[in-house]
Symmetry: C2
Subunit: 407 residues, 2 copies
């Protein structure tokens, strides 16, 4: 008997009508002979309202454990309502809060990580022919208090539950119907992918495709949980995220993505001496600022260098401030900041065995007169930094160049 | 060091401003050197909204355990927010949900009774100098699931926590500032009582004075918890509910109350034979209809009787329906129903040692031309049923007759 974990996000359970609709979907699977374990988020908007109440009382230095207690109440409402909606359709169901489902986390309140899941309570429920409806996003900390996993944590809950139960598949129902070769709002010829590998999905999630949370994909990859992304509103097949060997013939490139959350920082005329990178990037790391693409160019005199890198846009002001503070000590002429950049990436496991992928990217952009400001690569990804105004043009040109356009 | 349990109801924590205000009150007590354990309800309106969601999905036959899971989320929000508000004022505090506070109930979901409270978690918290903020109205059932105590259950939670901790006092903060000799909206000369006995409070609560829930008073009496009813908005002393021996000189009558939730039913010309009362009241009891005052009068022929009794107004249509159904079988002429009646009661432990209390009541009403339709008494209470139009007149006249008017 197939065992499926089905996860429904906040927009899928935003009101009573949608909760009834979700119950109907689950009921169809149960009647088709599948065993189903459901994981749900809070009603859309609820978590934001609860967070606003917390910060309304204490804007910054609120107790994270109390924050978790307040915020976790959102999922408590939806699990109970969905269980009742299922029962009304004649499907036996019962709700499980994080602490009842055996979901143990570490003590990092507000962004806890799942340490282990005792599968016994959910397994006993399934074996009794009852659909467990599990509160996503929450667990029990080592202090016996409620924890939450941070934003988007419900995806992670679902994958972790699927792994603990040894489920055949974990279905993530969301407001899009799958993973596309590119953002369909920008690239009208983007196609829905039938399958994608964990590695590609991981790159695409971390590059800004907001279908799945990076954390949940990494967890799925680690425990080899077959993930499916599909629409909670339309009844059409979604995209399967699977192991590479489940995909017969990989495309060289599976997707073209972009991220606007980039800002370029150039440190000009740095003295070129050993230890200079550590002197620059150490203070940024201390301030929890994540540095991404790094390019170093040596000046004509051979004694100075320009160092260019990217940070997220939100971190740009703090980055400039920190660099100005250490200017005298490190020794450089000035800092230049440019928030109007975008990172465009091509992703595909097929790259590993194909040469010329990077070359095609650079040529395609050059033909459109688009200047590349920085490059970074991994085994299955090439990213370039370009001026933001070229974002749409670059995306559409690359999508066509790699043969991804819809027939 | 004095240990006080302070309970704040839904209107006292209805929004962030009021939660801050409650935190301020608790903080003052803590700074005055008292140890405080707080019990709170959900924000006013929240529980109703949650119940509406449940019944919006399944109007009647909803799973009580799921109902409890949904509804208990309301208190979860307020305990977290109040703990944060206290911390902001420099008062160490932490929230406890029912299952974290060791509040064990029976398995009667939706109207559970507290079976026992393990005082260890709250005691450890208090001993660490931290104010526990406990979710009222909820506990942990024998099935490991969340239970709720039914409407007004937060008062009961507070009293039970006070008993378990051996607290010196249990303060119930509400939207009135104490217990009055009568309803001040009807009797302008009503006075606030400084003290009242458990027995009197119990009678007054069950007679319609909505200050405290009957259940919580009974629990306080059983465990000798000193209760105080006081306003959460004004900083004035309230009314202490205490043991009789803590009141030096009891008034003969402490209060005059009334209940409009009464309806009179007369069963006319019943055959007067043994077992007739059982034949009439058995079917009503089976339908969970509570019968209160009962008067039986024998007709002139000596072979028939009229039986008059009261039920709550909501039960009147069902009562008449049931009686009509058994008319032939039991043997009576007809049923007469009158919803326009009111029950007026005088309550006082001093009655036990004073004669003439009933006589004064009857004389006072007779002087105003008010007809008494039924009478019932207990050791410390006399109730009469009168036509509703005389309610205010009767209340004011009795209040004056027993010397309760404000000087």
């Amino acid at each position: 008997m197939t065992l499926v974990v089905q996860k429904f996000g906040g927009t899928s359970v935003a009101n009573l009508d949608r909760i009834r609709h979700v119950a109907g979907r689950v009921a169809r699977h149960v009647r088709a002979g599948e065993r189903v374990c459901v994981v749900v988020s809070a009603m859309a908007g609820t978590t934001n309202r609860l967070v606003e109440w917390v910060t309304g009382i204490e804007p910054v230095h609120y107790d994270r454990a109390e924050y978790d207690t307040v915020v976790a109440s959102g999922e408590q409402v939806t699990v109970g309502l969905l269980a009742i909606a299922l029962q009304r359709l004649g499907v036996p169901a019962r709700s499980f809060l994080g602490w009842q489902a055996g979901i143990r986390t570490d003590g990092a309140h507000g962004k806890a990580r799942i340490v282990e899941i005792d599968p016994a309570p959910l397994r006993a429920c399934l074996e009794a022919g009852v659909v467990p409806v599990v509160a996503g996003f929450q667990g029990l900390g080592p202090d016996g208090r409620v924890t939450t996993l941070g934003r988007g944590g419900s995806d992670t809950s679902a994958v972790a539950v699927a792994a603990a139960l040894g489920a055949d598949r974990c279905d993530i129902f969301t407001d899009v119907d799958g993973v596309y070769t590119s953002d369909p709002r920008v690239v009208p010829k983007a196609r829905k992918l039938e399958r994608i590998t964990y590695e590609e999905m991981l790159e695409m999630a971390s590059l800004g495709a907001k279908v799945l949370q990076t954390r949940s994909v990494a967890l799925a990859m680690r425990y080899r949980v077959r993930l499916q992304v599909l629409s909670s509103f339309e009844d059409v097949p979604g995209t399967l995220v699977v192991d590479e060997d489940e995909i017969m013939e990989s495309q060289i490139v599976s997707g073209v993505t972009y991220s606007r959350d980039e800002a370029k920082v150039s440190v000009l005329r740095v003295e070129d001496r050993p230890g200079i990178a550590a002197a620059l990037f150490g203070p940024l790391a201390d301030a929890h600022i994540n540095v991404d693409m790094i390019v170093q160019s040596v000046s004509r005199d051979g004694r100075h260098a320009n160092i260019t890198f990217t940070v997220s846009r939100a971190d740009l002001p703090r980055t400039v401030e920190i660099l100005e503070r250490i200017r005298g000590e490190v020794g450089f002429e000035r800092v230049a900041a440019d928030p109007d950049v975008v990172k465009v990436s091509v992703v595909g496991v097929g790259m590993r065995s194909h040469a010329g992928v990077a070359h095609r990217m650079f040529r395609t952009l050059a033909e459109r007169g688009i200047n590349i400001q920085a490059i970074s690569t991994s085994e299955i990804k090439i990213s370039v930094l370009i001026a933001e105004e070229y974002a749409e043009l670059a995306l559409r040109a690359l999508h066509a160049a790699y043969g991804l356009d819809r027939a």
